[in-house]
Structures are given as C-alpha cells and as structure tokens.
Symmetry: C2
Subunit: 505 residues, 2 copies
C-alpha cells in the first residue's frame, strides 16, 4: 500500500483545525442518537471512532441506532454489542455476537432491502440522522469525501447527517481515488431517470460532495479491512457451479443468452464466489458484473481474461488476493466502478440491464419459495441483504444452496419454508449439488416434483414426495398438509435434527 | 356510444380481404398453441373469438395455453374452462369456475407479477406465442391497432405473436383513439431508460405498431365490457378509508408528503375503490394516479376536482359510471392515459415516482407478512396481480383488509400467514377497520403488539397476544411457536372456522 503524505490526501484548506482523536470524535455521539457509518461486507468501515465509542460506553453507557451499508469488519459489531451501544441496528449484519443479541431481543434489528435504506432516510421515513462516520481515502479541495473500499450508504449518510466525522485512512491505497461514482437520485416526485445503461456507465462524481461546514471532525487512521472469510470451493459448491455453467451454456445454445451472458450479480459467501470462479473455465467471454460486493472471483475472472467490467458497491478480498489487488490497483482500475448501494442494487437498473442474479438460500421449499434469513423461521442469520433487490428484477433469478446442512441433519429442501424472503414469483432457477430445477413458466404442482428430484438429497426425497402426494390428494393450487407443513422444522427444534425424515434415518 | 362507420374505424387499405367470422378466426387456433388475448380486469378483452373457440371445443376438443393481461369479462374464463380449452393460464384471473379448475389441478395456473409476463415472453423464457387476439377500437392506415378500454399485455402480444387476430369492436367509443400510449422497452442488454417521469408522460404511439402482414384475421364485433362488480363502501371499508385519510393528513402535517401526496395506486376491488373515493372528501388536492386499473373512484375524484391526472392500463367501471364516462369521454380525455401493464406496473417507474400503493390483503400476520392469494395457504383466490410490482417499489406500501372474514369465523390477522406474497420488508402500513399500524423502521418484535392492538378484531386479540408472548419466551428475531404457527388455519380446515380462538368463542 502507498502511504501518501497527509497533505496530498487531505486537500481541504484549514482541515487541521478539524483534526481530532478518535475519542474526541466519538464524544460527538450522544446517547439516543441515530448514527450512520460507512462499511459494506467488511470493507471500508470507519474503524477508529466506533472502537472509541465502544471503549467509552464501557464506563459511560450510551445506546444508539446504528445504520451502515451492510456488515462491518474488524469485529466492530461484536465490540459495539458487547459494550451495549446498539439499541437498533439496520440494515444488515453478519456478526455472531450481534446475531445473538438480535435473537434474544436485546437489539432491535431492521432487516431491509439494501437499496431502500437511504430512500427511507431521505424521505424522513426513518429518524433523521445525527452523525455520519465515514472512512475516506482522501478529502478534496472542496471537502468532498473520497471513499475507500466500499461506498455502501456512505454518500447519502454524509449528505443527510447533521454532522460528519471523516476517518482519513492513510493506509488505504491512494489509487482508490477515481474508482468511485457517486450519484444521488433526485427527490420525488421530480426524479429523472437514473442514467446507468451498462455496468461501465459513469454518471456522477468520484467523491461524495458535502458542505464542508458539516464536517465536525477528521480523524487520521491507518487500520486495515478484515480479509474476507470466503473458503475455497469444496466438492458440493463445485458441483453447484458446474450445474449452473451447464445451464448457462444451454441457454446460449438455445439463443436465449449470448456468450457474454448478461451482467452478473453474485451474492455474498463461499457458494456464490465459487459459482463466479466457475465462469473462468467456461465458454463465456466478455462478461460483465453488475453486483453488490466484488469478491476474489471478480479478480479471478479479470485475470482469466473473461471479464470486461465490474460494477459494485464494495470490494472484499481474502488476505492473499487483497495484497495482490491493492498493490496493483492500476491493473484493474479502468474496469472497476464502486457505486452507492442504492444504485448497485437499484430495482430499476437491475431490471433495465437484465441482470443474472445468483444468491444463496438457507432453505427452499418444494414450490420454490426461498428463506434467506431465518433459521427455523425464528433466528436471524444475517439479513435479506441485496438478494431481494436483485432476484425480483433480474432476467434470471438463481438461488443456490447445498441440499444438506449441519452434516446431513438438516435438509435445505423442505415442504414449506419456515420464513419467506423470496416468493415463488421471484425464483427462476434453483440449484443444489444434485442438480438444477428450471422453474420458469411452471405452476406449483409442476415445480414440486422437479425440485424434489433434481435438488433434494436422495435420502430426503421419499419423504418430500410422500408429503407432496398427500397434499395433492387434498387439493389446491399449492397443495399442503398444514399440520405437517412445518413438521420438519419442529423436528429440528425438538430433536436437533431432521434425520427421522430421512429414508435411511 | 358513437357507432362510427367501419371505414373510419378500419383504415388499413384492403382490410376487407382479412375480414373473417369469429368461427373462422377461431379456427386459426390449434390444439397445443400458446395464445395471447387482450383484456385486463374485465376491460377490453377480445369477446367473439374466445367464445367461438369455446363453442368449437365442445365438439372438437382442444387445449391451449392462454395468456392475457389480467382477468377477462363476459364470463369468458368460465366458458373456456367449461369447454376444457385451458391447459395453462397466466398471469391472473378472477373467475369462480376457473378458480375451481386451478385448485383441483386441472388447469396449470402461473401466478405472475403483472409487469413481468411480456418480459419473459420477449426473452423466450416462456414458449413463443402462436396467436394474439386483440380487441381494437380502430385500425390505422399502417395496420396499427388502437386498443379499447385496456392495453394490458396486448401490445407485446400483438408484436410478438406469429399471427394476430383483431376484433374490431364497433361499439367501443371512437373517442378512445388518442388515449393510449404504447411504448415497448428495448431488448437487453442495450435498453435505455424508459422516459416516464410523471403520470402524464406520453412517450410512445397512440396505437400498437405491428407489421400488417401478420394480421391473420379481422373480426367485426360489437360486444360490451362487463360492468365492474365493485360494491359501495360499507361501514368497515369506510372506516379503513378514514384511518388512511387521517394517516395521510398526518404525513402532510409532518412534512413527509405534500397536499398532492404522491402518485396513487389502488388495487382491485371494493376496498381499494372505497379508499380512493375517500380522498374526494379529504384536504388533498391536485392528486395524480399512477395505477393499474382505473375504477369508478378515479372518475369520482375527477368530478370532485381533486384529481389532475390518471395513468393506468385499463378502465373498469360500474354500469352507471360506464354510461356516463363513455358518453362524455371528451370531458376526461386530456387527463387520462392507458399504457401497457409492463409500464403501468414497472418497478423502476414506481420507484422513480414514489407511488403510494394501496392493495388488499387476504390475511396478514403479526409481523406484517401478507398473503394476497392463497386461502388457507393452498387454494388460489385470484393471483398476486400487480400488488408486488407496486408494494416493493412504492414510497409507501399500504395493505388493507377487514379484520374479519366469513362473518367473524375467520380472523384476517393471524400468527403466521399461510402463504407469503409480500414479505415484512415490503409492507409499510397495515390498515383494518379498527386502525392502522405504521410499521416503518420497526423490528418484528415491535411490529407484533402494534398490529395486534391496532388491527386485529378485539375478540381475537387475546389469543394473538398469548401466541406472541409464548413465542417471545422461546426467542428469536421473529419469535414463533412452530407447532401452533399454522394452528389457526388448521382450525379453519378442520372446523370450518377459527371461533375457538376467539376470546368470546
Ligand atoms: C443464506 C446465507 C446465510 C448462506 O451463507 P453461506 O455462508 O453461503 O452458506 P453456509 O452453507 O456456510 O451457511 C451458513 C450457516 O447457515 C447454516 N445453514 C445453512 N442451511 C441451513 C438450513 N437449511 N437450516 C439451518 N441452518 C442452515 C449453516 O450450517 C451455516 O451455519 P454455521 O455458520 O453455524 O456453520 C447467506 O448467503 C446470506 O446471508 N444470504 C442472505 C443475504 C444475501 O443473499 N445477500 C446477497 C446479496 S449480496
Ligand atoms: C385479496 C383480494 C382477494 C381481496 O378481494 P376483495 O374483493 O377486496 O375482498 P373481500 O373481502 O370481498 O374478499 C374476497 C374473498 O376472500 C375471502 N376472504 C377474505 N379474507 C379471507 C381470509 N383471511 N381467509 C379466507 N378467506 C378470506 C372473502 O370472504 C371473500 O370470499 P367470497 O368471494 O367467497 O365472499 C383481492 O384484492 C386480490 O385478489 N388481491 C390480489 C391482487 C392484487 O392485489 N391486485 C392489486 C394490484 S391491481
């Protein structure tokens, strides 16, 4: 990483008078405030001020509403939760400690479509924001904020908050400047079309334009993003990727897609990353991405010469990939853009471009409804994230999941999902390691046998077939046996597993 | 109604050679074909050819896939079902006979977001269309089709089908010409923004442009649309309207809405119509509508001087209103536009305009999930229609329902909806005759007490509170007692009512 001189990074005249320690800046945050912070999938979060806030709360208790782009790195959600700073949290998280606090009812978590949070804020449908804390790679002559590895919701937070704290991170590569494209939709009812017509459309400014009089503090930092926790593909994720590659190839063959497919979106995590990596070895070329988080796979595809352009709202890389990418950013800069998540996930743009969306399900049911968030219908895992923004409006909405979880104790294909995030209307393709179900144009009674045969683990197929057949005897457009519908989850709650439903169980 | 001479209606040179009887035209439809027909909420459907098709099928059996805009009038779905013509049907219907055939598994029904059907067709994700049958008020010199009282999916069907049958309806008011605005989004990935920026944006042509060589038959007809079945407001729907008016007024007071509100969408049926009519007596002015079907209430609002402009994809009126409107169309013409349903319901446009969407729920649960379609989770009522297109992207997504159905035997507020069409993420405001729950920015545990106290019928409140409290003792972000979650619906299936759950039951 380049450590540039502070002067080159912070070009706002007189900025020194705003320089504060993290503790001094954190003191601007008062009990009961609504605070917006940068950070999306562990990338580009403000690092020093939240930590100082957690420290302070240990002797001087306070609690706030915390809004971010998505998840924070550097265990910040953990620290803030342990210090009881969070009374409300939105719109997404992935931290185990915070998750426990959410599920115990200690923290009120508002699980939102990631494109919608700032729209609600702008329209005063959420409480006005008191303070925004945003990580910057540079501050321009006019006080414009150049974000670091994520844009997330930082732009709107910085524009809408009463006071702005900037964490100027000297260890962020100076070459990040120029990568971002900041555009804020106009206020309704006089909004003109957002002019993004392709992943490489640049429509805004490379910095967040704010009135510098609202900058309340500048904190100089040098912390690093946490590396991503994505694991290498295993046999099952590789099979999922293979099924999907074969499907894409068949779509090209049938003339429904070109060899460049359509702009690709891939969800968070190991599975989605593996699928994208799979494209490196496929017959596809001149691919583009219009996605949310850009993971290692994006750079695998660049290096394989398969990917022409990638648009996202954050970059989250493994330790090794991070080293290579951040040191050679110039190699990729012309083919990368980071936008506000309101734009990376915008329903209208996703629909316009005809994105192919690949997201991971916790579980799916025999009719194609998908649960992305609630284990056994009650316990929040992470949140819906951008999956709804993309799946509803995509040309192809793909959901992937392993057919089994917890070492075979749990079937991820069930009669009736215990929580619905994506309805049957929004799920085109379902893939597990066993195969792929193409649900387009099918009625529920046609979907069920296909999902059971192609996607479920063989040990759970007979019980699923028996359920479906019994349900059909009762009738209905979407047949169910209500008294058994949640039985698989009840078994899980009662016995800790669904093995009694297995044919070999 | 003006009955113009055929020559003025049909200006395509040499059209007489294409003139056919309904029976002759129906003969173009062969067993196994995919057929698209005009018609949206009982307005503007092709009338003669479907009837001739049903007649023919009685002695010469055939079955087809039938796609429409939405529901058909003149009992056509009934006739086609009774003649066993329908093997597949999409994307919406409201007919009791067809509903039974769907629920018995005889007809495969594909319940779709109404904005999406032609997008799927255009991208060959549904089987290519063989024949389109479209009702016209006129045919232009170049063979362009001027639709009648609905546009629905007629434009894309006529453009994409191999053969087009036009029903030229001489009883349709000639003044309909000029009302329509036909625009078809470009093919992906090179689609430019759809330039609608307000309800009154005119962006296309007043007719459906097609290559006249694909016109296979012109059938001259004079049938009428069925009148709408909307009932006058009763005490409960009036209360629902009153709660919503008070809420809008409070939003204006708080500065979150102007006195013109935002473009309004109202779902089908009696309740949504009553709410719109309620606006006639409120303190609001210069209202606009960006909706799907325009009902009596639209014209009530015009007549009250409250409504400046209304955009929709069909006009469905009661007998009396229809007489008055169609005879005086000139009075309203400058303030009306009919678009393809792909545009009236377009997620990107709904998001751009910040529509206020008011749709009716069958049932809602204590966390704000909404079921619009499946009685007891299994039996299809009508379909999701445009409710998802609007609710997901609206600035305010309102769902209304009476707290009770079936004379108090059923509570429409339940612990766990038996089917999800709209997730908690997409429901801002829930209203029943008892009150309104403002769910914006609330976590599930905060939503439940509000929904129970403000919306549920008092007799069912104690049981709902008990459920919620027991569930909270078990924990989770969205607490549930899985073994009881569907118990209310099981009671309904078993006993025919939920009265055992009533406190006075
Ligand atoms: C669904 C989601 C949790 C899957 O995550 P993942 O890391 O790819 O998948 P994993 O298989 O490792 O599953 C994660 C956890 O869920 C558990 N799990 C998976 N399926 C399960 C099921 N059917 N029932 C219970 N638990 C299940 C796993 O055991 C694992 O638990 P652990 O952390 O205790 O080991 C994740 O993709 C997510 O949060 N999605 C919603 C947001 C989203 O889609 N964003 C995309 C837009 S960018
Ligand atoms: C939900 C919907 C069916 C309500 O229709 P409505 O005519 O306004 O309301 P009603 O109260 O008359 O209910 C219709 C029927 O559902 C029944 N019903 C209502 N709530 C019920 C419940 N909780 N459980 C079982 N049945 C219920 C009613 O008893 C009535 O039955 P009936 O026809 O046998 O008398 C209708 O609005 C719909 O189809 N919505 C989905 C599509 C949509 O929202 N489109 C809007 C975009 S334009």
């Amino acid at each position: 990483m380049t450590v540039a001189s502070i002067g080159a990074r912070c070009r706002l005249p007189g900025w020194e008078s705003l320089k504060r320690s993290a503790e001094e800046a954190a003191a601007l945050i008062e009990n009961g405030m609504t605070v917006g912070m940068s950070g999306f999938t562990r990338a580009g979060e403000a690092k020093a001020v939240p930590l100082a806030l957690a420290e302070r709360a240990r002797h001087d208790p306070l609690s706030i509403t915390l809004m971010t782009g998505a998840s924070l790195g550097n265990d910040l959600d953990k620290q803030l939760t342990e210090a009881h700073v969070l009374s409300r949290r939105m719109p997404f998280q992935v931290d185990a400690t915070l998750r426990r606090a959410i599920n115990s009812g200690e923290v009120m978590f508002i699980d939102q479509h990631l494109s919608e949070t700032v729209e609600l804020l702008r329209n005063h449908q959420l409480k006005d924001m008191d303070v925004a804390v945003v990580e910057a790679a540079a501050i321009t002559e006019e006080g414009g904020i150049v974000p670091t590895t994520s844009v997330g919701n930082s732009a709107s937070y910085a524009i809408l908050a009463k006071q702005v704290i900037i964490e100027l991170n000297l260890s962020a590569p100076a070459e990040l400047e120029g990568l971002h494209d900041i555009y804020i939709p106009q206020m309704r009812p006089n909004r003109t079309p957002i002019p993004v017509v392709a992943p490489d459309s640049r429509i805004g400014t490379p910095y967040i334009p704010i009135d510098p009089s609202r900058i309340a503090a500048i904190v100089v930092t040098d912390g690093r993003d946490s590396p991503s926790t994505v694991l290498p593909p295993d046999v099952d994720t590789q099979r999922i990727a293979d099924h999907l590659m074969a499907f894409f190839a068949a779509e090209v063959e049938a003339g429904r897609l070109s060899r460049s497919l359509l702009p690709l979106q891939a969800g968070i995590g190991t599975m989605a990353n593996a699928v994208m990596t799979g494209l490196a070895n496929g017959p596809f070329e001149h691919l583009t991405m219009y996605s949310e988080v850009l993971q290692d796979s994006t750079f695998d595809l660049f290096d394989a010469g398969k990917l022409d352009y990638a648009s996202g709202c954050s970059i989250t890389l493994s330790e090794a990939r991070g080293e290579a990418v951040w040191r050679n950013l110039d190699k990729y800069r012309d083919r990368l853009i980071l936008r506000p998540q309101e734009l990376s996930n915008h329903p209208g743009i996703v629909r316009r471009l005809g994105v192919i969306a690949v997201n991971t399900a916790l579980e799916a049911d025999i009719y194609g409804n998908v649960n992305s968030t609630h284990v056994c219908g009650t316990r929040m895992m992470n949140g819906i994230g951008g999956s709804g923004d993309f799946a509803r409006n995509a040309q192809l909405a793909v959901f992937i999941t392993k057919s089994l979880a917890k070492g075979g104790d749990v079937s991820s294909l069930v009669p009736f999902v215990s929580h619905v995030d994506h309805t049957e209307h929004d799920v085109d393709i379902l893939v597990t390691e066993h195969g792929l179900a193409d649900l387009r144009g099918l009625a529920p009674r046609e979907r069920a046998p296909l999902i059971i045969e192609n996607c479920a683990d063989p040990a759970y197929r007979p019980a699923l077939h028996r359920y479906f057949e019994a349900a059909c005897r009762r009738g209905g457009h979407t047949p169910h046996c209500l008294e058994q519908a949640l039985g698989w989850h009840q078994a899980m709650e009662r016995d800790g597993h669904m093995r009694t439903l297995r044919d070999d169980g």
